[in-house]
């Protein structure tokens, strides 16, 4: 029997893998030491667990275990990476380049940098959600200290040309940072091959626990330093003070190990399920996939259903936990800024659903989701005056709407 509702919002967060919980359990109970306590076995045991987790993480992204700085999650990692570089490299310049489709953890941090006197360039994206390398090249200046572009987008799954971006940043003497939150654990991310200097990521997007993330900070070629954003005991090579979240870190380590071992199989299965979902939903007229269908994460699809309103659609698909581009309130009707950056009109951006699949998503669930969404879209369109006008061949853009 299929259990409802079905969770398809795995870009927001993933469930904890039971194997991760199992690995964490001893560190929530008997192995409770502070990893910074160097003078007794309780501390050593905790430190040993942390060191092991560093190795597991390093193996996944191909770095040295000493290059991992533990944080509370990707938001903190993004903050530490961007603010930390801005402060550390103030002598060199004050210019940062990012993209309009970044996560708020990056965009809002950049806004903060601007208040501090920094200059930020927000690169636009094309209809597939990809930045232009020419735009990036043109935006580089001698004052550019950091280029920060996300690996895979959280709303559309679009994967940026990371290696090319890194090469351009490096050619101009800037550091390259990426928000790897959605990509790490899902697709092969290799900080050496990709040319990544700094990378933010988190456990709870890859079947690990919430409240623990990491920042990869390159130690060689070049040696990267970031100014700590939190003062305290000088933990994590002085870059992030605070008692380590040992159970969380153990969980992140285990999640990375599982991701490394199971990524290929997960990817094959999830992309097949995603493709089925997409193929079936696209049989509905006037439905469109948002973002690149060539360069994207295997477990995500974002589909707009024209002439159906997003919040009404969300209510219609109540048996599915998905996310809508719509943030419909009477005070501010704000469609997704990411979809708008791709060039979608407000109404199309409103009527989109983001499906995020996980290791735990079954074919039975996808089959149910297909039927449920089709039914809701069809029903709402029968109720939609816009659909009726479209069917009658009326050009909706020519109508003078009584706006509210």
């Amino acid at each position: 029997m299929l259990k409802l509702p079905i969770y398809l919002d795995n870009n927001a967060t993933t469930p904890l893998d039971p194997r991760v919980l199992e690995a964490m359990m001893p560190y929530l109970t008997e192995v409770f030491g502070n990893a910074a306590s160097r003078n007794h076995p309780f501390g050593w045991a905790a430190e040993e667990a942390v060191d092991y987790a560093r190795e597991q993480i390093a193996s996944l992204i191909n770095c040295d275990s000493k290059e991992i700085i533990f944080t509370s999650g990707a938001t903190e990692s993004d903050n530490l990476g961007i603010k930390g570089v801005f402060e550390m490299y103030a002598q060199k310049g004050n210019h940062i380049i990012t993209a309009t489709t970044e996560h708020k953890a990056v965009l809002d941090t950049c806004k903060h940098i601007e208040k501090l006197g920094g200059r930020v360039t927000y690169l636009p994206v094309n209809s597939e959600g990809l930045i232009s390398l020419e735009d990036l090249e043109a935006a580089m200046t001698p004052q550019t200290v950091l280029v920060t572009i996300m690996y895979g987008n959280n709303e559309t799954g679009t994967i940026q040309p990371i290696r090319e971006i890194a090469a351009i940043a490096h050619k101009h003497g800037a550091l390259f940072m990426t928000d790897g939150t959605q990509a790490v654990g899902k697709i092969p991310v290799d900080v050496i091959a990709d040319g990544i200097d700094i990378m933010a990521f988190t456990a709870h997007k890859m079947y690990g626990p919430k409240g623990v993330g990491a920042l990869y900070v390159r130690r060689k070629n070049p040696r990267v330093k970031v100014t700590a954003q939190m003062d305290g005991g000088g933990h994590e090579r002085g870059m992030r003070s605070g008692t380590l979240n040992v159970p969380g870190i153990v969980g992140l380590g285990k999640a990375c190990e599982l991701a490394r071992l199971e990524m290929a199989a997960d990817t094959a299965r999830l992309s097949a399920l995603r493709d089925k979902l997409e193929r079936e939903l696209l049989t509905l007229e006037e439905s469109y996939v948002n973002g690149s269908r060539e360069h994207r994460l295997p477990h995500v699809t974002n589909i707009s259903f024209k002439y159906v309103e997003g919040e009404g659609l969300m209510m219609g698909v109540k048996d599915l936990a998905v996310s809508s581009g719509s943030a419909c309130t009477s005070a501010s009707l704000e469609p997704s800024y990411v979809l708008k950056a791709l060039g979608l009109s407000d109404d199309l951006a409103h009527s989109s659903l983001r499906f995020g699949l996980s290791r735990f998503t079954t074919e039975e669930q996808i089959d149910y989701a297909i039927g449920h969404v089709k039914e809701a879209v069809t029903k709402l369109r029968e109720m939609s005056p816009l659909w009726e006008m479209f069917k009658e061949g009326i050009d909706l853009s020519k109508i003078e709407w009584a706006e509210h």
């Binding site: 309103e309 919040e311 009404g312 219609g316 009707l333 939609s384 816009l386 009584a402 509210h404």
Partner: protein, 138 residues
């Protein structure tokens, strides 16, 4: 957001979805809202000209559950009312009936406007003067 049972009921079993023949002289059509704002409501009334009574009402709405429920409820209320009685329907009555939360009051305003707009269309079609803008909502 948690919807009230009445909103859910109207959303799941909308009353009077459909289209009346707008070319008919005794049919008034109101179309309010805009696709970019996320709400478009079309409300139609059919009037018995001898009794000035609304004999039929239909709606089609592009919008959230509260917008669909507001327009569905409006059609229920319109049927059987005289045009003058229909004009007196206040959006706050819809808010109360559906227990709309404050952020969804807009949906009830839209429904009230759709009613007025439909009546206005009927009046103009039948040589009566257009209604004055009665209420400043926005």
């Amino acid at each position: 957001m948690a919807y009230s049972d009445k909103v859910i009921d109207h959303y799941s079993n909308p009353r009077n979805v459909g289209t009346l023949d707008k070319s008919k002289k005794n049919v008034g059509t109101g179309l309010v809202g805009a696709p970019e704002c996320g709400d478009v409501m079309r409300l139609q009334i059919e009037v018995d000209e001898t009794t000035n009574t609304i004999t039929d009402a239909k709606f089609k709405t592009f919008g959230c559950g509260s917008a669909i429920a507001s327009s569905s409820l409006a059609t229920e209320w319109l049927k059987g009312k005289t045009v003058d009685e229909a004009l007196a329907i206040d959006n706050m009555e819809i808010v109360e009936e559906l227990a709309l939360p404050p952020v969804k009051i807009h949906c009830s305003v839209l429904a009230e406007d759709a009613i007025k707009s439909a009546i206005n269309d009927y009046r103009v079609k039948n040589g009566m003067p257009a209604l004055e803008e009665s209420k400043a909502h926005h």
